[in-house]
């Protein structure tokens, strides 16, 4: 589904991603965990080519993104929807209009939009808030609107960059539950980046541990795998426990 072949990325002289390869299978929930600054955001943004690797290639469903035209990349992005830590909703559009945006972009006729927007909002349980503006919603509600917006174009993949990192534990559970249902009921592949072990453990089938722009390890989310992950991520977990910069941006 998504394959990264030896991708690297530099910002000025700083190597943010160093020769990373990984492969995400269709239908799975794939986690990427690592401390703040490990390069997780840069990596997930490479998957829809918002960030271009300096070296290596990104392959989506057999298509190498460095081989296709920009227009094609824009088209591919419509099926790799993204969810952000900061929600990134358009503050001057209602919930309904926010969710309708991807349909506008992909030129779905206006008369077909309403049903899909409402269906998407129903899926995240926010149909009743359709006429509100994002500024009137709680963080958890905003993130669910963002998820509804991501879903509305029937994407095959959801790329989630720290989707719950601004939320309290209860709301986090709600959002994770929505993501799980999306995967189970709609068969959408999910890639989720987080620095929170709990989030990854409760959701993912496979997990990649990142540190300093590199892949440390990729494990299955089962007791042996988790043990392995916690061991290999010891340094990073250590930093979290000692109250280091657990927050990400």
């Amino acid at each position: 589904m998504i394959t990264l072949h030896n991708v690297s990325k530099q910002f000025e002289s700083f190597e943010a991603i160093k020769d990373v390869s990984l492969s995400i299978k269709s239908g799975e929930i794939y986690g990427i965990i690592g401390a703040s600054g490990a390069g997780k955001s840069t990596l997930i943004r490479m998957m829809n080519y918002i960030e271009r690797p300096d070296e290596g290639s990104v392959v989506i469903d057999g298509e190498a993104l460095d081989q296709v035209k920009h227009k094609r990349i824009r088209h591919i992005r419509q099926s790799l929807a993204m969810v952000f830590q900061g929600y990134n909703l358009v503050g001057n559009k209602t919930v309904y209009d926010n969710v309708a945006v991807p349909l506008e972009l992909s030129k779905v006729p206006k008369r077909d939009r309403a049903e899909r927007v409402l269906e998407s909002l129903r899926f995240v349980g926010l149909e009743t808030l359709k006429n509100q503006y994002p500024g009137q919603l709680s963080g958890g509600q905003k993130q669910r609107v963002a998820i509804a917006r991501a879903l509305v174009n029937n994407p095959s993949v959801l790329l989630c960059d720290e989707p719950t990192s601004s939320l309290d534990p209860n709301t986090t559970a709600e959002v994770l539950d929505v993501l799980k249902r999306i995967n189970e009921r709609l068969g959408v592949t999910i890639v989720i980046v987080s620095h929170e072990m709990e989030v990854i453990k409760s959701l993912c089938q496979r997990v990649t541990v990142m540190a300093d722009g590199q892949v440390y390890d990729t494990v299955e989310n089962n007791p042996t795998g988790v043990q392995h992950m916690e061991h290999s991520a010891a340094g990073f977990v250590e930093r979290l426990r000692s109250g280091g910069d657990a927050n990400d941006s």
Binding site: R74, Q78, F84, G91, N92, K93, E104
Partner: protein, 221 residues
């Protein structure tokens, strides 16, 4: 209620107000049709923005700065050959719209560039992630998020345009400012000048109020 002197000169005053409307109206038109795209392009060419382009940014930025830092009266005089080339004459209200449109484009473009910073970066990133084209990003995200700031900027610009228009008498552009100078000052009708200034002040206050009210109304964030 209405002072006699205003009634005495009312036909001249109406003509002058009409001339001001023409000059300011065309300035607003140029601000929207030229200033807005230039300001948007300037913004997008900035470092870290979607069309990041140092050369395009610097050259356009230089032109805008040059026009804006030119003392306006001198710009009008300096532009006379150009105005004559474009309009066939450099004298009159129609000719006066030419320098007005030039300064208006430069003035508003700078304010647009600043206003667009009001659109959160994350929203633009979301737009890119949805596969939006540049055109869609501009019209469906950038302008939507920055619309209040754009309206406020237009309010500020319009008030400046009124101020600029008051000197257009030097090229026979007329207008309410020119009326105040010719009748009020040169013919020692100080009362007339004061009434005309009051008319301008009321007008500017109204524009300011309308702009702020509209900007507030469309801001849902």
């Amino acid at each position: 209620m209405i002072p006699d002197v205003l009634i005495e000169y009312q036909s001249e005053i109406w003509v002058s107000i009409g001339e001001t409307f023409i000059m300011v109206g065309f300035a607003i038109l140029a601000a929207l049709l030229v200033g807005l795209p230039i300001g948007t392009f300037l913004f997008l060419c900035r470092k870290g923005q979607l069309l990041e382009n140092q050369i395009a940014f610097s050259s356009l930025n230089l032109i805008v700065n040059l026009i804006r830092s030119f003392p306006f009266l001198l710009l009008v005089i300096f532009m006379i050959p150009f105005t004559r080339f474009v309009m066939g004459t450099a004298i009159g209200t129609a000719a006066a719209t030419v320098p007005m449109m030039i300064i208006a484009s430069a003035h508003y473009s700078r304010l647009v560039e600043q206003s667009l910073l009001d659109a959160p970066k994350g929203v633009l990133e979301a737009a890119v992630s949805m596969g939006a084209s540049i055109k869609d990003i501009i019209f469906k995200f950038l302008y939507v998020e920055a619309r209040s700031a754009l309206v406020l900027s237009m309010t500020t610009s319009t008030i400046s345009f009124i101020s600029y228009s008051t000197i257009m008498g030097v090229v026979g552009g007329g207008g309410i400012g020119d009326f105040a100078i010719r009748y009020g000052y040169q013919q020692f009708r100080t009362d007339l000048m004061i009434y005309v200034i009051i008319i301008i002040l009321v007008f500017v206050q109204f524009i300011q109020y309308a702009g702020i009210t509209l900007a507030r109304k469309i801001d849902k964030r």
